[in-house]
Symmetry: D2
Subunit: 369 residues, 4 copies
């Protein structure tokens, strides 16, 4: 019986322009470039507006993959979903995670649900729709489409939903204005949070985590509304949302399994351990026989109320280091300590992604055989 | 029978100049100001050369304690050992730890070793002695004197040795030069590392952790030579070393106990858990019945070889955030996650304090009763 | 005939806690501590929310002046207007400018207008009044009162108006809310800009630079409304505005004169030279015979439209260095180059203080005799 | 008569990957891509070890120019000298300066010396030669060869010598060590200063600014030895020095002229004005009839003695902002103010390039006709 298989490859990089690890895996036949669906990366910039390591990494990957795919670099950027998260503070280590999907023959006797990946796009948004219910509703639709693409029908089987979403620029704000419409904000920086937040709420709606009647004014305000599996990231290069769902499916013959938990705050070690245990791993997974840790995906943020479990933090008042850099360093230190490696994907900006001050944490393990 | 008792008080602060928490405990009678031996603090500066929160905190504490002790602020600074560690990156929370010592009556039936504190000073050093064998040898002597002061004879009962040590200024370098002598370095910044390193080696010699024949050229080079319990910090205001030993003694009737472990690298969660277990606590100590966590004291640094367990870190090459800030954020995140609180003492600059890239981690628990 | 004299003393400091220069001038009799009206300082912090060098400097000055004035440190802080501007980026050099006022006998034959200083306070504001017309109107009244105090009636004789104004805290926002009122913003950081902006507009109204009918919604929006001489700075320690006017008066027998110009952008060297020339100095004032430069006072900001004379700047998009630090460094470099010294007062946050991207620049010269 | 012509084009960029301005000039025929000799750029990174905007800019330029030159991107990087200087602090504006050289017919009646450009390479260095007399001597030879290439024989006609030089990596240090040789330093970061310093001393030797007998131990120590026209910049991608000399030659029919002066410290406005005047421009060159400013090239650094004209600066002790960023912001502010534009080339790291704390400043003007 023909079915699908999802692959996951973690590749350390020596800099944002380093594509040698991926090219070596392609050269050896371990990765078929045509099977690449998405690449998530941690790059060593500051993760802020002026972090050029993200676009540099994407440019380098597109240039390197273009001849292998018989496409132009621009076409590669359209075909593969690139999500680069800047900021490897503390012990975090720059790396790429390459997701592949291919048809496969189901071996006899294989049982259990296994990693499956699906993708979908929304339509292009108008600038005035970003950060508002239109973006929420359309994202919810796309999440359902991506679930279908992944062959997953039960929301409980979805463990991580990575979304790339647009942001506002002054041109886009003016275009809305010329139509007589106001955008959610006029600031490019603030629009990133709005877009991330609405996209995360769209995931929550699609998975039934919250009721579908989210209002425009709830975005970036009602932080009790959130998804436990959404991870969203905004970029200037698109006007629609790209949705990647990662879950487990009985139809998949992948060698991998995914699970998740929710950090209720930035020091929630129990949640990190629960995420490891959800895929049969434990604390210090290196020691685990058989199953092996591939990667952990988490979102981090400085809790907006200025404290963690009753003790004041100083991340939001530091004029020298942005709070997103602080949060990645701290949460990255905790996850790395529990996972036994700094090559984990910890990303900042967790609006409506987990509770305020916390965030989702997903784990992918390679199954024993 | 008369004996001694050591007290430990952790006090959250609202800023480097905030003395209200300490004054309230003095006002309520919980702390007798005359019993205060040392105050260790985490302040919210950058921990670097231009971190003025440390001297501001000391100035505020001296001004506030002066009338309670019938001394001038300058005399308070001489009487009490103030060790302020700047930098509360990530989830770390600004606070003070106040150590007291007083005579007490031994209750009948009390058994076991309990927290005991001892202090001692070296003689003043010549600038050319800093970072060299003279500083090592004199520090070792002072550690032994402080052990005697604490009533501890077995090095195995020593779990944390906090040292304040001098640094070089251009005036001090010139004074040495005028005598025809060269200092270990002419840079004030570099001299801090030399002084911290030699002081830590002095602890290692005193406790028999390394052989006493350390040579000048081993300082900041032979990182295989280190102490598992030394925590050293250099300051401009003194020319001698102040040594505070924290250990357990059968002579103490303190309500507290101390233990330690050694982090072999910045993600060594097992060591943090071992340090918690060494005083009868466990992972998530808040849940522990009876015994309670008071504080954790740890040193952190970016591993000099640029990697942690085989994965590259980017702390040493970041021009925007100093590696000490990165390291405190990451190690602070891990320890806070395992301890369940960000109000822990994580300090940077761990030369010869634990192995390269790692550092000592000590825990004080309040005993159940 | 009895009249008044205003004195100005520029004192280099070795750190935010350094009061030795001021104490030496008091010890030598050059400064009578009772004559001190205001102290403006540049301290070496980051100038942001977590810049503790400002309060440290004020605490050190109050503690040092208290015994000389027979007051408690708290009373000193009430008596003297302390305005500390954090941030000595680039070539800017930490220093204090001490303003004194005393009665004097008018020498025969003295002519011309000379430096005169006046002070006044507004009433305490309600939190909901900050950043709005109430603050504008009350500030305008206080500016007129301070002009009268300085013996100056012609607005053309006013060259610098330094204002200290309140900010919002969460407690203050809640107090307004409990009264059923909304504040201009709920963010402490944003409230600083609102309070600075409204205070500057109050100066503009008082001096007839703009019409008095400024509306609440003009604050931080209508940047075409501004004062050419206002310099405002918000602090948490007060709920009213303190207004210090610096101008020239025929009644003054001061040895000093003040003038000003307006920088239309951050590279407006012509304005800096005009400010120097307005008090009889020129480019490279050190070379000027007779008259000597005392200090320059300027406000700097990154132009909100992202460019300077048609060329893009990157200050507003830098996640690692705040735009206020960039702006002080650049404008400080220009003014220092033209003034021949880095010991100048360049402060950030110039809302409604000069045109957008520019700011006022005032110069005080010592007269030849 | 056939002779050469040198062209200079300043092109604003919207980001480090923006090549559109250059492509447009090529598309319009204004620039013949085959005539491009060198591209100097200011990119908006931090200018430090982890500034990836420099290599990103070079990668983008090489990819864009490759099809125009019929070469691979790697061959473009070999053919054209790319010198990217990271850091557009303060008002500095990201831009490229493209230098071209082509054969031309000398018009009758043309007189005077005009801009001429020459290039030369040294042989590859051994790692142990970097920062030492071998690098000095070979660089001096290459400077003379580049002068010949430019058709300039009189050192007084040389106004700017831009050098790209190697740095040490751990591999290179080990290679030296395997040969039994020690390198000048084992730190990659420190090696950049050594290589820049030795290269600048090579220029000084070639131009007769200093005696040729410079010893290894003079590098980074004898700061009284310096070149008034050297600007050096180290990069990981080469093991030899690339030398670009810019001067004036009677053989050139260029529309441009170059001149220079030397800033004796970071606030030396007189030197900047002298550099403008050396090419017939003045203060506020925009207003100058006929001649027009093309660009200014300067090196900046924090004065190593910690003060500027007797006043303390705080650049060297700031743990949050590197001194090179401070220095570029301040000197950039001054030069932009005097030049009337932030699109100037101000670069950090001025070892032996101008006096300690100062640096060379060169100006290129377009001639009137």
């Amino acid at each position: 019986m023909r079915t699908t298989s999802a692959g996951v490859f973690k590749i350390a990089t020596t800099g944002p322009g380093d594509v040698s690890g991926l090219m070596a895996l392609i050269g050896s036949g371990a990765i078929d470039p045509k099977s690449i669906l998405a690449i998530l990366g941690k790059t060593e910039g500051n993760g802020g507006v002026n972090d050029f390591t993200r676009e540099y990494a994407v440019a380098a990957l597109c240039a390197a993959l273009a001849p292998r795919l018989g496409l132009s670099p621009e076409e590669v950027e359209q075909r593969i979903a690139f999500v680069m998260s800047g900021g490897t503070e503390g012990v975090l280590s720059p790396h790429l995670t390459v997701f592949t999907r291919s048809e496969a023959e189901r071996p006899a006797g294989l049982s259990g649900k296994r990693l499956s990946i699906g993708m979908a796009h929304t339509r292009d948004f108008l600038p005035e729709e970003l950060g508002r219910s239109a973006q929420i509703t359309e994202t919810a639709k796309a999440v359902k489409a991506a679930m279908a693409d992944a062959g997953i029908s039960d929301p409980a089987d979805i463990h991580f939903v990575q979304i790339k979403c647009p942001l506002l620029t002054s041109d886009r704000v003016e275009a809305a204005s010329a139509r007589g419409n106001k955008t959610a904000t006029t600031s490019a920086y603030a629009s990133m949070a709005y877009s991330r937040g609405a996209s995360a709420l769209g995931v929550a709606v699609a998975l039934g985590e919250i009721a579908p009647d989210v209002r425009d004014e709830d975005v970036l305000r009602r932080y009790d509304l959130f998804s436990k599996v959404a991870s969203t990231s905004s970029g200037i290069e698109l006007m629609h949302n790209v949705v990647i769902v990662l879950g487990n499916s009985a139809a998949s013959v992948s060698e991998f399994e995914i699970g998740h938990a929710v950090m209720r705050d930035a020091i929630d070690s129990a949640a990190v351990i629960a995420a490891l245990e959800s895929v049969g791993l434990g604390f210090a997974p290196q020691a685990t026989n058989g199953r092996g840790l591939v990667n952990i995906f988490a979102k981090a943020e400085a809790s907006p109320d200025g404290s963690v479990r009753g003790f004041r933090h100083t991340m939001l008042e530091d004029t020298d280091i942005s709070s997103t850099r602080h949060a990645r360093a701290a949460v990255g230190g905790l996850i790395a300590g529990l996972a036994g490696t700094g090559a984990v994907y910890v990303s900042g900006g967790a609006e409506h992604q987990g509770p305020a001050g916390g965030g989702p944490v997903a784990t992918i393990a390679r199954l024993s055989d």
